[in-house]
């Protein structure tokens, strides 16, 4: 029986550069869940995500993925970076970039073409397979990165403000695309964003973090279930009373005062 809990933060505290970035935090993520992490700048949300990926080792506590303590990055947890331009290999074509993930996993050469084509189809970039990243728009480059992550066939997708550098329209279409993808594949997602509406729109649960944690005010400020039905719509969902209620409730946690 596949366990339902995929990721668990066990009293994970992180100190960096002499400062406490994250006070001991505890939470878990179940399989297939879409969890968004929000908070003002400096609250450690990116650090938390990197700890989940294994790029950062907790100062206290540990992160468990599938019951195992996370000691370093693995292919099972795919990471989508915000600066997509820097995360793609500029000298390889789109297929070449996807292929990197397959090469890393030791997938035999004969199988690669088919898998690349499939994953490119999923993100709608089939026609651009032979283009170089520099020839693509920002949104397309980000889709290439997502496609590469999908090619890893991960259990967990970690996304660090992936749409922060894109314009509003591209952002919205990518949000819907990611939602659809996740519904189709049953992927578990941990998504960091500073955009409150994006967080509520995409997730099953929103975790709000606090900046400058202190004794009475730990990093983890709130954890709220998002009970809005799927599939969601950019226009209708955002007018849903439940959406508006959640938005009001979480607004204060972003540092607005």
């Amino acid at each position: 029986m596949v366990p339902t809990e995929l990721l668990r933060f066990e009293e994970v505290g992180i100190h960096l550069g002499g400062r406490e970035i994250l006070s001991p935090t505890q939470f878990s993520v179940t399989r297939g869940e879409f969890v968004c992490i929000i908070g003002p700048s400096g609250c450690g949300k990116t650090t938390l995500l990197r700890a989940a990926a294994g790029f950062v080792q907790p100062s206290t506590g540990q992160v468990r993925c599938n019951g195992q303590v996370v000691t370093g990055p693995t292919r099972k947890a795919a990471f989508v970076f915000q600066d997509y331009g820097r995360a793609l290999l500029p000298w390889r074509t789109v297929s070449g970039n996807i292929s990197l993930a397959l090469e890393a996993a030791g997938v035999p050469t004969e199988q690669r073409a088919a898998r690349i084509a499939k994953v490119l189809d999923t993100v709608g970039l089939g026609v651009h397979a032979t283009k170089f990243p520099a020839q693509l728009s920002g949104g397309m480059q980000q889709r290439v990165q997502i496609a590469r992550c999908l090619a890893q066939e991960p259990e967990l997708m970690l996304m660090d403000e992936p749409f922060g550098a894109l314009d509003a329209m591209t952002r919205e279409s990518l949000q819907d695309e990611v939602s659809r993808l996740v519904q189709e594949t049953g992927l578990t997602v941990l998504f960091v964003t500073h955009d409150l509406e994006e967080a509520i729109y995409l997730s099953d649960r929103v975790i709000a973090l606090r900046a400058n944690p202190s004794a009475g005010k730990p990093s983890l400020a709130a954890m709220i279930e998002v009970g809005i039905a799927r599939p969601r719509d950019q226009l209708l969902t955002k007018e849903d009373p439940e959406f508006l209620r959640l938005r009001r409730e979480l607004y204060g946690f972003l540092g607005h005062h």
Binding site: C43, E161, V192
Partner: protein, 277 residues
């Protein structure tokens, strides 16, 4: 842009032991190599004409410091540095001058393009025999080769620097009705300065290398010549000393130029990456 920005602000205090370690680390390999050479030269090749223990080289250098002839350290170094500097000055003035004109005027650039592309590939070493034929040996011969060698990079880099001046700045200067001279001195040249400093640093490096090369190949003056004489007199200790000295001088001057570049850039408002908002 995520919370990584804050990590840079609170730079942790570096403990004293780490500071000392970081200071000494670059020296470990050189010291190791010198020790190895010392042992190898003494035990494996004690009578060699080619290798000498660094300790003997050091002594030979000390002796050469006292000497006031052509092969003395002071005279030879001054000759090389002097001719490099003089040649660079000529190459600099001509290169920056012409480069600015070509950079600012597209027409001039396209007109001069062919001629430059024909003359630029002439290797400066190929001019050593010509210079020797015309000037004989000495200062002028070396200066002219250095001038030729430094002229082209200064020209190309200055042209690029002038071309890359923000057109908006020139428009502001025109709108303020600045005279052409004021436009050049108050707006264009300062805007080019950062790149010119980089070009200057390159020019200095080239000038030194070419000067030494001229001396090794032909000119019986300077550090290169002293090096050759040491080899010809079968004095491997002196040869090693000169080789290291040439390296030290070259390295030292490059470091100085780097400091100069940074200091001047900062005075011209260039903010180092670490301090940017």
């Amino acid at each position: 842009m995520g919370s990584w920005g804050i990590i840079e602000m609170g730079a942790p205090l570096v403990p004293r032991s780490t500071q000392i370690f970081l200071f000494l680390r670059p020296w470990v390999l050189p010291v190791l190599l010198l020790t190895l050479l010392e042992w190898a030269a003494r035990t494996l090749a004690p009578d060699s004409d080619a290798v000498a223990p660094p300790s003997r080289a050091f002594l030979a250098f000390g002796q050469a410091l006292m000497v006031s002839s052509e092969e003395g350290v002071l005279r030879a170094s001054l000759f090389t540095l002097g001719s490099a500097a003089a040649g660079l000055l000529i190459g600099l003035v001509l290169g920056v001058g012409l480069g600015t004109v070509l950079g600012l005027s597209k027409r001039a650039a396209s007109m001069g393009f062919l001629t430059i592309e024909v003359l630029r590939p002439i290797p400066s070493v190929a001019l050593i025999p010509l210079s020797m034929m015309v000037f004989g040996f000495g200062f002028r011969m070396e200066i002219s080769v250095v001038a030729f060698a430094t002229f082209w990079p200064m020209l190309i880099l200055t042209q690029a620097a002038a071309r890359q001046v923000e057109p908006g700045l020139i428009e502001v200067a025109l709108a303020l009705e600045l005279s052409p001279w004021a436009r050049m001195t108050k707006v264009v040249l300062p805007a080019m300065l950062a790149r010119l400093l980089v070009a200057l640093r390159l020019g200095v490096a080239i000038a030194l290398v070419v000067a030494v090369t001229v001396e090794v190949a032909a000119n019986p003056y300077g550090m290169g010549y002293a090096l050759m004489i040491a080899q010809q007199s079968l004095a491997p200790d002196l040869m090693l000393a000169w080789l290291v000295w040439i390296g030290v001088v070259g390295y030292g001057i490059n470091v100085l130029m780097l400091r100069l570049q940074h200091a001047l850039s900062r005075r011209m408002g260039e903010i180092p990456q670490a301090q940017r908002a």
